[in-house]
C-alpha cells in the first residue's frame, strides 16, 4: 500500500469532487460495510451505519490530513468508531454480554459474504492471528470485532486490566511482524 490512493482521492473529495468520491466509494465501501457488519451483525443496522459512515467521509473529507495516516486507515477508523458507538449505545449491556459470550466460542470469521478482492488479505490476517497466543488473539478480537472496552475484555477473559492492555499491544505488534513477513 505504498502509494495511498485513498488518501489522494480523499484530498480531491475534500475539495468537493464528486467523481473522486464515487471512485473512493468503490475502494472503501466493502471494507467499511464488512467491518460494520462484523461488529453489528445485524444486516439492516449495518447498512444504516455504513451509510452514515460513507456520508460522514464526504462531509468531513476537508479535514482529512495525510500527515496523520493513510486514507484507508482514516476511513476504516471512522467506520469502526461508528459501529462501536452503535453497539455500545443501542444494545443493553446484559444483552451484549450474552451475545459476546455466545460468540467468543464461535469462529472468528463468519458467514458474511466476503469481498473477492479482500480474500488474500483476509487469509494472511487470519493466518497471522493464528500465530498469536490465545490471550493476545482474544484480546484483540473482542475489542475490535465485538466492540468491547478493555475493561469488558478483562472481565470476559478473567485477566487483570494491565495484562489485557499489554496483550493487545503485543498482539497487534506480532500481527504486524507476521504480515510484514508475509508481504
Amino acid at each position: 500500500m505504498g502509494d495511498d490512493l485513498e488518501g489522494k482521492l480523499l484530498a480531491l473529495v475534500g475539495r468537493g469532487d464528486q467523481d473522486a468520491f464515487e471512485e473512493l466509494y468503490g475502494l472503501v465501501s466493502a471494507p467499511v460495510y464488512g467491518l460494520v457488519r462484523r461488529v453489528l451483525r445485524d444486516a439492516a443496522q449495518s447498512e444504516e451505519v455504513a451509510q452514515e459512515v460513507l456520508l460522514e467521509v464526504w462531509r468531513t473529507a476537508p479535514r482529512y490530513d495525510p500527515e496523520r495516516g493513510a486514507g484507508r486507515t482514516w476511513v476504516l477508523t471512522l467506520a469502526h468508531r461508528r459501529a462501536v458507538d452503535r453497539v455500545r449505545s443501542v444494545r443493553a449491556a446484559r444483552e451484549r454480554e450474552e451475545r459476546v459470550g455466545r460468540r467468543t466460542a464461535g469462529p472468528a470469521f463468519d458467514e458474511v459474504v466476503e469481498a473477492v478482492e479482500g480474500r488474500m488479505e483476509r487469509d494472511w490476517v487470519r493466518r497471522c492471528l493464528q500465530n498469536l497466543t490465545d490471550l493476545q488473539r482474544q484480546s484483540v478480537q473482542l475489542a475490535y470485532y465485538d466492540g468491547c472496552t478493555y475493561r469488558e475484555v478483562s472481565q470476559r477473559l478473567s485477566v487483570p486490566l494491565g495484562t489485557v492492555k499489554t496483550r493487545m499491544r503485543d498482539g497487534l505488534l506480532r500481527m504486524r511482524a507476521c504480515l510484514e513477513g508475509a508481504a
Binding site: 475534500g14 471494507p31 460495510y33 464526504w58 468508531r81 479482500g118 484483540v140 472496552t149 500481527m175
Partner: protein
C-alpha cells in the same frame, strides 16, 4: 518522555477499546507528543488490516443512496486557524463524538411526529413509482431527523395550508413538509423559496412543489444564511423571483 501509563493505553486506543474519558485523555496527551502519535498511528494502521480482512460487498442500493445524498450535501470546512477560538474537538473522525442514538431520536422526536403523517400519506397512496428513489428520499429524511441538532418548525397559512420543516444546520439539510394546500389551479404551480432574510434579503428558488402538494415531503440543501422558507403561487414552471404574496412563510430555527 512518555509516561508508562499512556504508553500502555496506545493499543486499546487504536482498537477503540477505551471508555470516552480515557479516550479523551489519550487524545490530549497525543496532541503534545510526536513520538506517541507516530506509535499510535502505526497501531491504528495495524487495526485497519483487521478491518480489511472482513470486507464484504454492501447491497447495491447503498451505492445509489450514498451517491445521491452526496450531490446535495454540504461539506464541513475546517475552521480557519484563529488563535482566539476555543480548542474545538481535535481534527479527524477520532474525536467527533456524538450523543447516543437514543438521545438523538429523542431530540428528533418532535420532528418525527411532524413528518410522520405526511410521509406515511405519501407512501400509502403511492401505487406505482420509483421505489428506489422513494427509498433514497426516505433515507435522506431519516438522516436529517436523526441529526443531533435536528429542530422542527411549522406554520399554518390563512387557508389552513401547513408548511413545516425539520432543519439540521450541521448537515446543511432540511426536510420540508407541506399539507393542506389546495390545487394550485390551471397554469399555476406552487414554488418553494429559501430566503436569507425578510423582507428584502436574498431569495433563491428551492424548486416547485410536486403536484400532490396536499401532502409532500421534500429534502433540500440548506445554506447557513437561509432564514426562511416560503411558498408562493407562480405561473406553471415557476419564476425566477416570487411574483405573489406567500401562501405560507416559515421562519427557520437558527441552529
Amino acid at each position: 518522555m512518555l509516561r508508562r501509563h499512556h504508553r500502555s493505553l496506545g493499543a486499546p486506543y487504536a482498537l477503540n477499546a477505551l471508555p470516552p474519558k480515557e479516550q479523551r485523555r489519550v487524545e490530549r496527551h497525543l496532541a503534545g507528543c510526536d513520538n506517541c502519535r507516530g506509535r499510535v498511528a502505526a497501531l491504528t494502521a495495524d487495526t485497519t488490516r483487521l478491518g480489511e480482512a472482513v470486507a464484504a460487498v454492501p447491497p447495491p442500493e447503498l451505492r445509489s443512496r450514498v451517491l445521491t445524498a452526496v450531490r446535495t450535501m454540504e461539506q464541513e470546512r475546517p475552521e480557519p486557524a484563529a488563535p482566539a477560538r476555543k480548542p474545538g474537538p481535535a481534527a479527524g473522525p477520532a474525536s467527533a463524538g456524538r450523543p447516543a442514538w437514543g438521545l438523538r431520536l429523542a431530540v428528533a422526536g418532535a420532528a418525527l411526529a411532524l413528518v410522520a403523517a405526511a410521509l406515511l400519506g405519501v407512501q400509502l397512496t403511492r401505487v406505482t413509482g420509483d421505489l428506489d428513489a422513494e427509498r433514497t428520499r426516505a433515507q435522506a429524511v431519516e438522516q436529517v431527523l436523526g441529526a443531533p441538532d435536528a429542530t422542527a418548525a411549522t406554520t399554518t397559512g390563512d387557508g389552513g395550508e401547513v408548511l413545516g420543516a425539520v432543519v439540521s444546520r450541521d448537515l446543511g439539510q432540511a426536510v420540508v413538509t407541506v399539507s393542506g394546500f389546495p390545487a394550485p389551479g390551471p397554469g399555476r404551480d406552487y414554488q418553494l423559496w429559501a430566503m436569507a432574510d425578510r423582507p428584502d434579503g436574498a431569495v433563491r428558488s428551492a424548486g416547485l412543489l410536486p403536484d400532490d402538494a396536499d401532502r409532500s415531503v421534500l429534502t433540500r440543501a440548506l445554506g447557513p444564511q437561509v432564514k426562511y422558507f416560503a411558498v408562493t403561487s407562480e405561473p406553471a414552471g415557476g419564476s425566477r423571483q416570487p411574483t405573489t404574496k406567500p401562501v405560507a412563510q416559515l421562519p427557520l430555527p437558527a441552529s
